[in-house]
Every structure is written in structure tokens, then in C-alpha cells.
């Protein structure tokens, strides 16, 4: 179906929009120097504005000059890529997603929803108006590609109407999922960095954005290095319980062993000391234990240093203590530890390592 220029301006990521870009400019490849021409001035300034809006208000607006709105989108992507900053990329993608939510809220027909879902995101989605109170049905697979990052229990698959491979959703829920899907697509696109400097006016925009970024970037709290000591009272309840079990020589399930081991290594406890902890267990074998602990420490195999599972994962495996009621909403055992260390007046910081939750492979 032919989309109106207005639709393309609102939803510049749909396939016809990039076609339009080519037609309008007469060629598939615009030279970077073309942007020096006065006719591009307005588009350039809207592109810069899109980024500024993302940084200032965390939301890109919709402006009714449709050509400018449409053509500035790919240009904005090029500028963000050239800036090459992952904070900016994420902020911009999420600000575009908010723009999308607002625009979709004002749509009357389901056509554009289905177009974005099925043709841009490549989902399996249907409009199910006759099945009120639901408006859309989305395949479980697509739902699970997006929804697990929403933390409200309302989004848990188990609390959704599910039947025959589909999740039934209201229009509002579907909008949120679509926007998140588009945010991911924009983020992926921005991953493909542009190395080298942009010339002329574009280069100046990049420089201005970099300057602005240095003000807007959230300040990471500088924490003094605190390593190697075990401050038991700062442990989250789950890890504290696993640790006690180890000290008492009690049996611990694999996931719990993995959690406490990676936790201790991440707060800087010496590898040898961690191995020693396991030697009191009924099935202790120092050689195997050392191998496994070294694996988790990133000294073997894939060389990935593992972090403990996040709280959600511990819940799934039945290892969370009293549904986290002592944890005041933290999402990760290491965050709990850092937070309590700060609270009890000593400064600590677990090592930031590559985030990976894959435990050593175990077999059945």
C-alpha cells in the first residue's frame, strides 16, 4: 500500500521511507558534501534538534513539516553514529521510541500498528478487535523477545492471556511493545559506528553534540577501590545464606554455588580463598573445584569473567530469599552489596566485568 508522506514523516523507519529518501534526492547515494548546500539547511538543523531533544527532554517531538521530518531521520542516525557514544545512542533510540508512542496513541486505525509490527519488526501479530477487551494477538516468541525487560509483574507471561501460541494484548500494551521493538532496531542500527570525521557543517554538528554530551552524561559515582574483604553484613540475604551453607559444609545446588562463587570473585575475594570454602562440602574435590572457580573467574574456557545471576534469575530457580522483601527493589546481588557497603560507611565497589550470566555448563 502506498503510504502518505505524512505517514512516512511520522514513521520514518518503515521501508517506504527510505525509498522516498532516494527518490526525493534523485539518487541512492547522497554525497556528504551535498549537505553543505542551502536546501539542506533546514534538514540539518532538524537533525541536530532531534538529538538535542533526546538529550534535554528524553523525547523527540513530531513537527509537521513533513519533508524535513522525514529526511532528517536518516541524517540524525548518521550524526549519532559519527559521535560514536553509546550513552547518546541509547538515549536517542529511547527518545525516538517515546515519539513513536505519542504518535501511535493518536492513530485511529490498526493498519499502521500491523505494518510496523509485521513489516518492520517482522513479528507475527494480528488485529483481534472482535476479541474484546483485547485488540492485538502477538506470537509468544515475539512477546518474549521484548517483554522480559519490563519489570512490572503485569508483563510477566504468566499474568497475560495466552492461548495457542499467542499473547492477547490491549492497544496500549501493544503500542509499548512496538515502541520497544523499534528502539531496539534503532540501537542496533547505531551499533554500526561510523569511523572518521564528518566534513563541513555535519562535522560542526558532531562537535557541538559532543560538547553538549559532556554536560549531559550522568556522572558515575566515583567509588574508591574496595577489594578482597568479606563484609558479611553487607551481603544480600540470598548470597549470605549460600555463604553460610558453604561455611557449614552443607549441600548447595549448582546455581547457588555459581552465584556465591561469582559474587565472591566479583567483590575481589582471592581465588584460593574461594576454593577453600568448598573443601568442607560432602562432595568436595579440590581439583575439580579449582577448575570450576577458575572458569568463573575468567581464567579458563571462554575467558569470560562471570557475574552472579541477577535477582530475577535467582527467583526463577527458587533461590531468592522471601521474594526479595529485604532488598528494597535492587535488581542484582552486587548492587545490593555496593549499596550496603556505602550505607555502613565503608566504600566498596565490585569489579565491573563483562556481564555474563552463563554458568559453567552442567550436564544431565
Amino acid at each position: 500500500m502506498e503510504e502518505s508522506i505524512e505517514t512516512l514523516a511520522k514513521y520514518p523507519f518503515i521501508p517506504e521511507a527510505s525509498e522516498y529518501f532516494k527518490v526525493k534526492t534523485g539518487t541512492g547515494d547522497i554525497l556528504l558534501t551535498d549537505f553543505e548546500k542551502p536546501e539542506f539547511e533546514e534538514i540539518l538543523s532538524r537533525a541536530e534538534e532531534r538529538i538535542r531533544e533526546a538529550l534535554d527532554r528524553e523525547e523527540v517531538s513530531y513537527k509537521s513539516k513533513v519533508y524535513v521530518e522525514l529526511l532528517s531521520f536518516p541524517l540524525t542516525l548518521a550524526i549519532v553514529k559519527a559521535v560514536g557514544d553509546s550513552f547518546l545512542s541509547q538515549r536517542y533510540a529511547s527518545a525516538e521510541a517515546k515519539r513513536l508512542i505519542k504518535l501511535l496513541q493518536n492513530e485511529k486505525s490498526q493498519t499502521i500498528f500491523l505494518k510496523i509490527a509485521n513489516e518492520v519488526l517482522m513479528w507475527k501479530a494480528e488485529y483481534v478487535w472482535q476479541k474484546a477487551p483485547y485488540d492485538y494477538a502477538l506470537s509468544i516468541k515475539n512477546y518474549l523477545q521484548i517483554a522480559p525487560i519490563f519489570r512490572d509483574r503485569n508483563w510477566k507471561l504468566i499474568n497475560k492471556p495466552v492461548k495457542d501460541g499467542y499473547v492477547y494484548l490491549t492497544r496500549g500494551e501493544f503500542t509499548r511493545l512496538v515502541a520497544e521493538g523499534i528502539k531496539n532496531i534503532i540501537e542496533d542500527e547505531l551499533e554500526d559506528r561510523f569511523d572518521g570525521e564528518l566534513p563541513g557543517k555535519l562535522g560542526k554538528i558532531v562537535n557541538r553534540i559532543r560538547l553538549l554530551l559532556s554536560e549531559k552524561r550522568p556522572k558515575v559515582e566515583e567509588l574508591e577501590e574496595y577489594k578482597g574483604r568479606i563484609i558479611l553484613e553487607a551481603f544480600p540475604p540470598c548470597i549470605g545464606a549460600f555463604y553460610q551453607a558453604l561455611v557449614n559444609g552443607q549441600h548447595l545446588p549448582h546455581t547457588a554455588r555459581f552465584a556465591v562463587t561469582s559474587f565472591l570473585l566479583n567483590i575481589g575475594v582471592d581465588l584460593g580463598d574461594v576454593v577453600k570454602l568448598f573443601t568442607g562440602l560432602p562432595d568436595a574435590n579440590e581439583r575439580i573445584t579449582r577448575y570450576q572457580v577458575e572458569h568463573i573467574a575468567g581464567l579458563r574456557g571462554s575467558k569470560t569473567k562471570y557475574t552472579p545471576p541477577k535477582c530475577e534469575t535467582l527467583k526463577t530457580h527458587g533461590l531468592c530469599v522471601e521474594d526479595g522483601k529485604f532488598c528494597r527493589g535492587v535488581k542484582h546481588p552486587l548492587s545490593y552489596y555496593r549499596r550496603s557497603i556505602r550505607r555502613i560507611g565503608r566504600v566498596g565497589e565490585g569489579e565491573k566485568s563483562e556481564v555474563s550470566e552463563e554458568p559453567i555448563q552442567e550436564v544431565l
Binding site: 516468541k141 574456557g301 526463577t316
Partner: protein, 408 residues
């Protein structure tokens, strides 16, 4: 000496099995799977292996005669690479493990044993948290399995299959059921729909199937007002249907003590019991909640209990893991001498202690240290204590594999 004799005995049997019975069914995308094996002698793991075809795999098995054979549920571009990064993960089947070990059943009191490693105190049933005599927490467990716990595992598998079919819309062709060769069942789902899901998505599936995080009010059941509204809710929600069915059961069967246990107040529980027949009558008309004195909070507790009863006791780690190695279908289990075998027909009538039996010809003389009563095929054996007995080979192998006997 005894250990070596056992080892030789098992090695001969296992070798003959892999040489002569060519037991493997077709493994989908075999070239993209990683294989791993535990050796009989040292019980060490050899992994990161790959095979071009079932033929080369069978040849390997007959030459090396492993104790246990595994393959990845994942597909890799380079399955024999030694680290995950280089393997290049392409996707993974969705797998479920249901193990009798995780399912409470009364037979455990009869056949499971524990022993304190400090004071040698011992007893029957699941191991206590601490030794009742000396308080030590270092406790060794010896678990057995019987028709009863295998039946309990089968019932859980039936529940799981209903989820896969009704909720996930999977067809029989996409779902394969196996007896694991020991204490339970493995269910393999090979479907493009689920192949590329990551760990977080799989964890959501685990929570969905175990019932974790269910919030009945989000299904709106306790505040439903009419049959029409109920029908509409049930039409699109398999979980709502499950909650209603189990809720019905709870109202019908739970006595005062049970109702108090799940958090109902005395008065409310009594109101519920007194109005049981009326509630049952109104249940599927969507008006069960209109009984005065049974409030929304009470219904929420009842549906929470219903959620607990509806969930399936799967091993949560196995399903969430996208790099899992799982026992290779058709191969022997070194703790029993049985085979991991596909349930081809009706699961209800499947008898694992008959159909997974591999060694059927001949007898063997063994000395049994101690064993509970057990069944293999149609025959019952034991209990034995420090006895020399001649047994059909499958029963002898089971005891040897379990470490309860040696060949004489």
C-alpha cells in the same frame, strides 16, 4: 578388585550394545551439535566433539564405550570449538527435565536413605537439614527410584504437555518425549518459534510453566461478575482456565485446616465451607464470588493456591540454559544400565521399567551389599542385604550401576 570386575563387566555389555544394536535415532542438525562423554573408567568428561553423521557417532561409541553420552540442545556453527565465543551459537531447542528427585512422593520414605558423615547416624526418607543426633549438616544421601516416583514424574510430564499444546500451540511433531533412563522424563521441543530465544525469554517460559509470579487479580477472576465475562476470560487465557479448574477443586476438597493454611481467616473459611454447594453451583456461571462473607482477598488466596497446584515441577536450570548438554537419545544411563528412550505411543501406558530395559538375555551372579525391593520388567526383586544372588542380567546391571552390588 570388585570395582574393576564391575567395570570390565559393564564395559563388555555396553560395548556389545553400541556395536550391535546401532541404537540411535536421527539427531536433527547433527553437524551443528556439540557432543560430550563421560568415560567409564575415570568418570571424566570429554567434550567439544562433533560428528558428521549418526554412523560416525555410533562408530565412536563402539570404540570408546562411554559411561554416559550427551549432546548440546544448542546448535553451533563450530560445535567443536573449545570456548563459547568461538562456537558461535545459532539457537537451541527448548528442553524440559522432569526428575522424580524434585517431586515429593511418599515412596521416598521407603527407598531413600541418608547418613551423617560425622556421627554415622542414618535413616530413611529425604535427608534432614541437620543430623538429628549430632547437628552436623554434612549429610550423604542415597536415593532410589521406583514405579511410584516414576509415575509421579509421568504425571508432571502430562501437565507439561498440556502447557506445550494448549498454551504454546505446539504440535505433536514438534514435541518429543523421552524417558531419561533413570528417574524421569525429558521433553524436547524443536520449533523455529523458540529456537533463538535467549536466557531471559526462556526464564519467562520457566516461570510460566512452574507458576512462579502468578497474580490472580491480573486475570481478573476474583472480581468476575457474569458467565459471559468468565467465558470471554477463559477463551483467551489458558492460565485463567487452569486457575478456575484448580480453584473448583480446592473449594470442593479443602477442609477447614487446609483453608486456614492457605491464609483464609476462620470466619471466611467457615462461610466458604457452609456455602460450598452453592459456590460449586455458581462456579462456571461466573457468580461463585457472590457469596456474602467470602471476600476478594479470600478468593485471591484460593487462586494463588490454585496456581501452585497448576504449575509443573520442571528443573528450572535446564530449561533456562541455552548451552545445555543433555543425555543423548538412545544411549545408556550408567546409573541404571537402562536407555534414554523415546515415548512413541501413549504416555499413560508407557512403562519405563519395562521399555527402557536394554540387556535382556542371560543372568549374572552378584553379591548385593544392600538394596530395597525393586522391579525390572514384570519381575520384582529384593530386598537384599549382603546376599549372593543370581539375577536376570538387567536387574544385576541395575544394582551394579547403582553401586549396590559386585559381580562374583
Amino acid at each position: 578388585m570388585e570395582r574393576e570386575r564391575n567395570l570390565r563387566f559393564l564395559k563388555n555389555l555396553f560395548k556389545r550394545f553400541y556395536e550391535q544394536e546401532a541404537p540411535l535415532e536421527k539427531i536433527s542438525a547433527i553437524k551443528y551439535r556439540e557432543f560430550g562423554f563421560l568415560t567409564l573408567e575415570m568418570h571424566t568428561m570429554i567434550r567439544h566433539l562433533s560428528f558428521e553423521s549418526e554412523n560416525s557417532l555410533v562408530k565412536f561409541l563402539s570404540e570408546k564405550v562411554p559411561a554416559d553420552c550427551y549432546r548440546s540442545t544448542a546448535y553451533y556453527l563450530n560445535p567443536s570449538a573449545t570456548n563459547m565465543g568461538e562456537k558461535e551459537w545459532l539457537g537451541a531447542d527448548l528442553v524440559f527435565d522432569i526428575d522424580a528427585d524434585h517431586i515429593p512422593s511418599s515412596c521416598k520414605k521407603k527407598h531413600d536413605r541418608w547418613k551423617c558423615l560425622d556421627c554415622e547416624e542414618n535413616g530413611y526418607g529425604s535427608a534432614p537439614g541437620a543430623c538429628p543426633k549430632c547437628g552436623s549438616k554434612r549429610i550423604d544421601e542415597k536415593v532410589w527410584f521406583c514405579s511410584e516416583c516414576l509415575e509421579a514424574a509421568k504425571m508432571e510430564t502430562v501437565k507439561l504437555l498440556e502447557f506445550l499444546n494448549l498454551d504454546f500451540g505446539l504440535t505433536d511433531q514438534e514435541v518429543s518425549i523421552y524417558f531419561s533412563g533413570h528417574r524421569g522424563y525429558h521433553v524436547h521441543v524443536e520449533s523455529e518459534e523458540f529456537k533463538t530465544l535467549d536466557q531471559d525469554a526462556r526464564r519467562e517460559i520457566v516461570d510460566y510453566i512452574t507458576g512462579l509470579g502468578a497474580e490472580p487479580s491480573l486475570h481478573g477472576l476474583e472480581s468476575i461478575t457474569s458467565e459471559e465475562e468468565l467465558d470471554k476470560t477463559l477463551k483467551f487465557s489458558a492460565w485463567a482456565e487452569r486457575l478456575m479448574k484448580n480453584g473448583y477443586d480446592i473449594v470442593l476438597k479443602y477442609g477447614l485446616e487446609d483453608l486456614l493454611r492457605i491464609g483464609l481467616k476462620d470466619k471466611v473459611a467457615l462461610n466458604l465451607i457452609n456455602n460450598k454447594e452453592k459456590i460449586i453451583e455458581l462456579w462456571w456461571k461466573g457468580k461463585f464470588n457472590q457469596i456474602v462473607g467470602v471476600d476478594e482477598g479470600a478468593w485471591r488466596n484460593i487462586f494463588l493456591e490454585a496456581a501452585k497446584r497448576s504449575g509443573v515441577l520442571i528443573d528450572t536450570v535446564v530449561t533456562a540454559d541455552v548451552h545445555r548438554l543433555i543425555r543423548l537419545e538412545g544411549t545408556l544411563h550408567s546409573k541404571t544400565g537402562f536407555r534414554k528412550i523415546r515415548v512413541l505411543k501413549d504416555l499413560d501406558s508407557f512403562d519405563p521399567l519395562k521399555e527402557a530395559v536394554t540387556f535382556k538375555r542371560g543372568e549374572a551372579k552378584v553379591h548385593v551389599y544392600e538394596s530395597p525391593e525393586f522391579r525390572v520388567g514384570d519381575s520384582i526383586f529384593g530386598p537384599y542385604s549382603e546376599a549372593d544372588v543370581e539375577l536376570p542380567i538387567s536387574a544385576a546391571v541395575l544394582l551394579i550401576c547403582k553401586g549396590l552390588a559386585y559381580v562374583i
